[in-house]
Amino acid sequence: MPLDANKKRVFKVIGTRPARPDGIDKVTGRALYGADATAPGMLFGHILRSPHAHALIKSIDTSAAEALSGVKAIITSKDFGLPDDSSVLDVQDNCMAREKVLYDGHAVAAVAATSAAIAKKALKLIKVDYEALPHVTDVDAAMRPDAPIVQAGRAMDDLPAGLSENVTYHFEFGHGDMDAGFDKADKIVERSFKTAATHQGYIEPHACLASMNSDGKGELWCCTQGQFFVRELCADILEIEASQLRVTASEIGGGFGGKTTVFIEPVALALSRKSGRPVKIVMSREEVFRASGPTVSSSSDVKIGMTKDGRITAAHATFRYQGGAFPCGTVQFGAQSAFAAYDLDAVQTIGWSVLTNRPKEAAYRAPGAPMAIYAVESVVDELCQELGLDPLDVRLKNAAQKGTKSSYGPTFDDIGLKATLEAAVAHPHYTAPLGPNQGRGLSCGFWFNFGGNTCVSLNVNFDGTVGITEGNPDIGGSRASISLMAAEELGIPYEKVRTIVADTNSIGHNDITDGSRVTFAVGLATIKAARDAKQKMCARVAKIWDIDEDAVYWEDGYAKPSGPNAGTFDPMSLEEIAAISAETGGPIAGHHEVNADGAGVSFGVHLVDVEVDPETGATEVLRYTVFQDAGKAIHPDYVEGQMQGGAVQGIGWALNEEYIYGEDGRLQNPGLLDYRIPVASDLPNIDTVILEIPNPGHPYGVRGVGETPIVPPLAAISNAVSRATGLRMSELPMSPPRVLKALSAKG
């Protein structure tokens, strides 16, 4: 499907920075998030969670809890069926443990009661008889043949000898002659790396309000990145029909990939069905850490060969990711993105996916990519240091571009990597002087971006305003961007358009807000819906003027006769056409449904200056600049916001954030005090440079921008620390004690 690219197009509304439609609600406290809804007769749901990393559930006795007055329903896994689809069963088992608890925090039972205090008291009265089992939380340990087996029967077919059954998935891919490539190298560096699991850290904990009747009709309000996916999962788990469950997405207090699945929603629905009352469940922050979906943790080996003048001759990587107690495919994205920035003749990538006794990972912004690219970019940087080469020069010399056969298979179309690197070379940051104990690092980053299933409807109201109904929760200002694209296409002011996010019964299926797809795919569908409406308006005007439909065209908000042959008529505005639409055939609406392709990959480059305190090992970020190709920035403020927010999440990952497990397999830091995310005083301003290399797959050239910015900071900061201290760190986070230890070992 060729899309008309408007590369040279001059935009009127796109690229401006108007106020977002939900702004006032959000600055006055009126916006309703997941935990802000209530219903008459509502009960409070609370969940009992495993104190063991791994244990058999021998029995659960709920009788004492049931006897407590105010308790209206208690459920365990027995209240759910056994879905045929194994992926649905995994989700269900993660929401409520069946035979075994698989990680510290795994749900075992849930209570609905008339107050939160009674529900919590009831949890204490539930007696669970556990038989503790040996556990494993480290990825490398979990692969060893003697490791405790997390879930039997999930190992990959043809599991190689000498590996644990915990290995669920393996692959290799690449191209070219590796031996010949390494032979040509003047210098080869081979290193191993480890990265800790981190959490998305959205400030709003998971929350939902469920109401379900015994006839299978239900209503669910929840904070989610995808109400349609929630509906499908919950309908499958509760064995009801999708059409009978209406899911409404609340305003969402951050997601970053972590709200792309369900944890509490099926539990709340089951409690509501059993009690006959609405049930609200809100996770505590501790529950968010222990029982939602953090990232994978990783272990990897990277080997790269380079010539004296900086050409990469061969590159090899092995990635081992653990994604918790259920199979997960995230290592694939890591492996596919690892070498994406490079034009390589010989490249080989291997991936392993492993089960451990940790919560099932969920997507986190460019899932899998940051840790893989961290390892690769660290080795590239070390080669530059060893060979005395300029790191930007080397990246330019090896940069992927249009026509490059990417390391993961496909050949690239127009991509903005070279332009992004050149912008970094030209930026004053790159040559600014540095002081003692300071270092400058950089890294490339990459994300694929997705399109996906999307529908949008656009209604032209009688007063000449326009309403847009779409189905993707707005996390970072997407309603504003969608209104901007509709206004641009229709030739009307932004203020005349209002975009809302609809529930599952008010519009057709939309995929999750993920993969940086919303501005791209929903934008594309909005533009097409607007074109559909314009065509209908032109047809109405053709009838009024009594000329052929194709003798009328649309320009700048008006239907106009297409030339002297069409006749002379005064152009009619959208407002005029709307005002008489009842008389000319009824309401006017445009819509578009698509499974959007052509999302267009996204590259970014980050430059960072740090200072490492030799006394404490603390790393301070002094200056930070993000360069990224946005294709076309619809609302530049929110594009910058994505670049800044992603960079800061990456800074946290590099320097502080980590899931710490004790010997007992329990999470030791399930709170925001001990799991430290960056605060305002940790950071400098985050400067941004937006490049616009249009994506040929979108009518306005848009590329997704949300995920790429979390990718480069890990290596960029590690490279900066290396240049500041002469130390090559190979483990994240580079927390002060870890850096101090390395400094004193070096002497």
Partner: protein, 158 residues
């Protein structure tokens, strides 16, 4: 445990409620009074999403007991705008895109207002340290600091 009867002033309005002795002010505001603008991000004083002022002092309402509000004057995000007129901080947060998901915004606005009342002309560093107890995971803080500066400038009449 018997509930406690509390008389207080919230955003200038006389307010009465009953609450359990161990119930936090945040739970009272949200669950008993329907003032859900204050958010719970942690319940342990680490995120600042629940920030309010009690007798002019900035506090995490999750760490204050509802009973402590007796006889006090409590200000929440719901009292920040005057009718149709937004507070300059609110306006500059919208104009400067200082929010993405917006769940941290009420707490940050309340905290920033308390700062500007003490120090109408803060440096960036002062703002960053003052707001260090208010977590934002979306924005990287850059646009928040800038919006506080531009609101401060407007409030100084600059």
């Amino acid at each position: 445990m018997k509930n406690i009867h509390v008389s207080t002033t919230i955003n200038g309005d006389p307010t009465e409620f009953i609450c359990a002795p161990d119930e936090s002010l945040l739970d009272v505001l949200r669950d008993r009074l329907g003032l859900t603008g204050s958010k719970e991000g942690c319940g342990s004083g680490d995120c600042g999403a629940c920030s309010v002022t009690v007798n002019g002092r900035l506090v995490c309402s999750c760490l204050v007991l509802g009973a402590e509000a007796d006889g006090a004057a409590v200000e929440t995000i719901e009292g920040m705008a005057q009718g149709e007129t937004l507070h300059p901080l609110q306006q500059h947060f919208i104009d400067g895109a200082a929010l993405q998901c917006g769940v941290c915004t009420p707490g940050i606005l309340v905290a920033a207002k308390a700062l500007l009342e003490k120090n109408p002309n803060p440096t960036d560093t002062e703002i960053r340290y003052w707001l260090a107890g208010n977590l934002c995971r979306c924005t990287g803080y850059d646009k928040i600091i800038k919006a506080v500066q531009s609101a401060a400038a407007e409030m100084r009449g600059a």
